[in-house]
C-alpha cells in the first residue's frame, strides 16, 4: 500500500527542493504522513499510538530538564528532587509532569496493546511490528523502574532492593549478578549512579525502537476495526488531514485528563512512603511498586518458589512475543469472533484482578486469588488462544471496509 502510490511530490520552495534532492526527508514526510493511505474506519482506539508518541517526547523533554537539576548521590538525591519542587522556577511543574507522565505513558500503551490484541493487529504480516512493540514495552518498564529509584525515597530504595534481588534466584551465578547490578554488596551509591545513567539512556533507545516500529507499520499499513485489508482507494483516506486532525483531537482529550492529575492530584498515583528519605534500616510495612507493575508483581508473588515466581513474571511478558503464533484463528478482529471477544474481555478483568492482588499484602485470600488469576492469564494465551482459533466459527466478514462503513451508516 505504502508503495502503491505514484510520482514523487514536487516542492515549490527552492530550499526544500534543494535539500530534498539530496536528503529526501520532505518526500518521506509527504509520503508517510500526508498521502499515506490509511483505512477510513478507525475508531478512537487508533489514537493511542499518537498519544504514546506525544508522551514519549514529553517524558524526554521534562526528563532532560529534571536531569539538569538532579544530583545522583545517596546523600543528596532526595533533597535535590525536593529542591526541584521548591526552589527551581516552575520545577514543581516539570517534576509533576514527569512523575505523572510515566503513569499516563503506561495508560496509553496499555490501551494501545489492548487495541492490538482485540483487533488482531499482531497477525501476519504484522508480527515484527508487534514484537517491536513488546520490546518497547519492556524498555519502558526498565526505564520507569530505574526512574522511580532516582528520588531515593523509601519505596525507591526498597523497590530497587526487592527487584534486583530477584536475580539472585538464578542458579549458581545469581548472587554474582546481583552484586554486579548493585556495584557492591547492597543497593547503594553505585546502584543509584548506574540507574541514573541508564534512565537517561534507555528513552533514546526507545525512540530508536519506536522508529523501527513505525517503519514496520508503514510497510503494510495499519490494521483497522474490521481486521480486513483495504482493497482499494475507496477503503482509505490520506493520513493528513484526516487522521492528523483526529489524532490531534484525541491527544487533547488525553492531555486534559493527564493535566487533571498533574495539577489537582499530583501525588494520587504515587506512594506516600516515597516522601520518606531512603533508610536501609527501616523496611516499609508493604513494599509495592508503581501501579503499572502491579499485575506482574502479583504474578511474581503468586508462585511460592522464588525462581518460579521470577520465571512466571518474565514469562507473562514472553508469551506476548509469541502471541502471533499462539493465535490459530484466520480472522483478525474480535468483532467477528463471537466467543474470543468474551475471552478477551475476561483477560482484561483478569489483569485488573491481578493488579489489585499486587497491591495487597500477600496473605489470606489474596494468595489463592492471585494464583488463580495467574493461572488464567497463562491459560488464556497457551490454551484458549490455540484451541479456540480452531473450533470457533467466525461471523461472516464484510466484503470491504467501505461496505462495512456504509452499512453502519444505514443502520
Amino acid at each position: 500500500m505504502a508503495s502503491s502510490h505514484g510520482t514523487p511530490p514536487v516542492f515549490n520552495n527552492k530550499v526544500v527542493a534543494w535539500i530534498d534532492h539530496r536528503l529526501p526527508i520532505f518526500s518521506y514526510i509527504e509520503k508517510e504522513y500526508h498521502t499515506f493511505p490509511t483505512p477510513r474506519n478507525f475508531n478512537y482506539f487508533w489514537n493511542f499510538g499518537a498519544i504514546a508518541t506525544v508522551m514519549l517526547v514529553l517524558m524526554i523533554a521534562t526528563g532532560i530538564v529534571l536531569a539538569t537539576n538532579y544530583t545522583p548521590h545517596v546523600l543528596m538525591a532526595f533533597d535535590s528532587v525536593e529542591r526541584i519542587d521548591r526552589d527551581v522556577p516552575q520545577g514543581w511543574l516539570i517534576r509533576d509532569l514527569h512523575m505523572n507522565g510515566a503513569s499516563f505513558f503506561f495508560i496509553a500503551v496499555y490501551i494501545h496493546i489492548f487495541r492490538g490484541m482485540y483487533y488482531g493487529s499482531y497477525k501476519a504480516p504484522r508480527e515484527l511490528l508487534w514484537i517491536l512493540g513488546v520490546v518497547i514495552f519492556l524498555l519502558m518498564m526498565a526505564t520507569a523502574f530505574m526512574g522511580y529509584v532516582l528520588p531515593w525515597g523509601q519505596m525507591s530504595f526498597w523497590g530497587a532492593t526487592v527487584i534486583t534481588n530477584l536475580f539472585s534466584a538464578i542458579p549458581i551465578v545469581g548472587e554474582s549478578i546481583v552484586t554486579w547490578l548493585w556495584g557492591g554488596f547492597a543497593v547503594d551509591n553505585p546502584t543509584l549512579n548506574r540507574f541514573f545513567a541508564l534512565h537517561y539512556l534507555l528513552p533514546f533507545i526507545i525512540v530508536g525502537v519506536v522508529a523501527l516500529h513505525v517503519v514496520a507499520l508503514h510497510v503494510h499499513g495499519s490494521n483497522n476495526p474490521t481486521g480486513i485489508d483495504p482493497k482499494g482507494p475507496q477503503d482509505t483516506v490520506p493520513f493528513h488531514p484526516y487522521y492528523t486532525m483526529k489524532d490531534g483531537f484525541g491527544v487533547m482529550v488525553f492531555l486534559i485528563v493527564y493535566a487533571g492529575f498533574v495539577f489537582f492530584a499530583p501525588d494520587y498515583l504515587g506512594h506516600p512512603d516515597n516522601y520518606i528519605p531512603a533508610d536501609p534500616l527501616v523496611t516499609p510495612a508493604h513494599i509495592v511498586p508503581e501501579w503499572y507493575f502491579l499485575p506482574f508483581y502479583a504474578i511474581l508473588r503468586a508462585i511460592p518458589d522464588k525462581l518460579g515466581g521470577v520465571l512466571a513474571m518474565f514469562g507473562a511478558i514472553a508469551v506476548l512475543f509469541i502471541l502471533p503464533w499462539l493465535d490459530t484463528s484466520r480472522v483478525r478482529s474480535c468483532t467477528f469472533r463471537p466467543i474470543y471477544k468474551w475471552f478477551m474481555m475476561f483477560l482484561v478483568v483478569d489483569v485488573i484482578v491481578l493488579g489489585i492482588c499486587g497491591s495487597k499484602p500477600p496473605e489470606g485470600f489474596w494468595v489463592p486469588l492471585s494464583q488463580l488469576a495467574t493461572l488464567y492469564y497463562f491459560a488464556h494465551f497457551l490454551v484458549v488462544l490455540p484451541i479456540l482459533g480452531k473450533i470457533e466459527r467466525p461471523l461472516p466478514l464484510p466484503p470491504s471496509i467501505a461496505d462495512s462503513v456504509l452499512k453502519k451508516k444505514a443502520v
Binding site: V237, M245, M252, F264, T283, P284
Partner: protein, 265 residues
C-alpha cells in the same frame, strides 16, 4: 576508601537482619484506626492555605516542635509566602543563632539570616535519637505528603493520645503498654516515642485566638501542609488555566476534525 570484604559482608548482614526485624515489627503493627476526616482550607481544586492559621501554626512549630523536629527544606525567607513581611520575618528570627564558619574556617555563632534554612535542633541523627529514647524525630518538611491520610493523620497524631489510665486492660495487654509509654490511637503499633507535644494553652497566640489543643493541632497541621508543598496554590491556579486552554483547543480540534471528515461520513 576501600573497605575490607569481610567488613562489608558483616555490615550488609547486619543491615539485612535489622531490616528484617524492623520489617516484621512494622507489619505486625497493622490494624490501627483511620484518623477521622476533617475539612481543610487547602482542600479541593480551589482550596488555598488559611494564612492566619498557618502563621499561628508556625508559632506552634517554632515554640514547641522545633525543640525536636527539623524542617530542613524550608528557609526563613519562605515565610513571606505566608503573608509575613520581610521585616516581620527578621523580627521573628532575631533571637536565633546558627553555627557557621568564619573566614579562618573556625566555627562561630552568628544571628540567623532570612536565607538560612530552619535551624536544626540536633547536629545529626544519632544525637537526635539519643535525646529521644532512641527514636530520632523525623524531619517535618514533607511530613504531610509522607503519610497516608496526610493532614488528617498529622492532626490525628497530635490529638490522638490516650493516657495510660484510660486504656482498657485488653489494649494494655495486646500492645504491651507500660506505664510511661505514650499510647496514640492513630500511630501504627500505637506506642510512639513522642510524648504528647500539645495541650490547651501550650502557646499564647499573638492574634488572640484561644489556644485549645484542637486549635493548636489544626494550626500546626495547616503550617506543615504549606511547608510540604509551598507551591500548591500556584499549582492549582496554573491547572485551572491549563485545563481551560486545553478544553478550548480540544473543542477547536473537534470542529476541524468534523469539517475535514464531513465528506467521508
Amino acid at each position: 576508601m576501600r573497605k575490607p570484604f569481610a567488613r562489608n559482608l558483616l555490615v550488609s548482614g547486619a543491615i539485612a537482619l535489622a531490616s528484617f526485624t524492623v520489617g516484621t515489627v512494622a507489619i505486625a503493627a497493622g490494624g490501627t484506626e483511620h484518623p477521622p476526616h476533617r475539612h481543610w482550607h487547602f482542600q479541593g481544586p480551589f482550596g488555598t492555605f488559611d494564612r492566619a492559621a498557618a502563621q499561628r501554626g508556625f508559632q506552634v512549630y517554632q515554640e514547641v516542635c522545633a525543640a525536636c523536629h527539623s524542617l530542613s527544606l524550608v528557609a526563613y525567607r519562605n515565610l513571606t509566602e505566608l503573608g509575613l513581611t520581610e521585616n516581620q520575618v527578621k523580627g521573628l528570627i532575631k533571637d536565633i543563632t546558627v553555627t557557621d564558619l568564619n573566614d579562618e574556617g573556625a566555627p562561630v555563632d552568628r544571628p540567623a539570616r532570612p536565607s538560612d534554612r530552619f535551624k536544626k535542633p540536633f547536629p545529626n541523627q544519632a544525637a537526635a535519637a539519643a535525646a529521644n529514647n532512641g527514636k530520632a524525630p523525623p524531619d517535618l518538611s514533607v511530613i504531610v505528603k509522607a503519610r497516608e491520610y496526610g493532614p488528617d493523620y498529622i492532626y490525628g497524631i497530635l490529638t490522638g493520645y490516650v493516657p495510660y489510665d484510660k486504656l482498657t486492660p485488653a489494649q494494655i495487654k495486646e500492645f504491651d503498654v507500660k506505664k510511661d509509654d505514650n499510647f496514640n490511637k492513630y500511630f501504627p503499633g500505637h506506642k510512639i516515642a513522642m510524648a504528647p507535644p500539645l495541650s490547651d494553652d501550650k502557646v499564647t497566640y499573638a492574634d488572640g485566638t484561644k489556644a485549645t489543643l484542637d486549635q493548636e493541632a489544626a494550626d500546626v497541621t495547616e503550617f506543615l501542609a504549606w511547608a510540604s508543598e509551598p507551591h500548591m496554590e500556584d499549582r492549582k491556579r496554573t491547572g485551572v488555566r491549563v485545563i481551560l486552554f486545553l478544553i478550548a483547543l480540544a473543542g477547536m480540534m473537534y470542529a476541524v476534525k468534523r469539517m475535514v471528515w464531513a465528506d467521508k461520513h
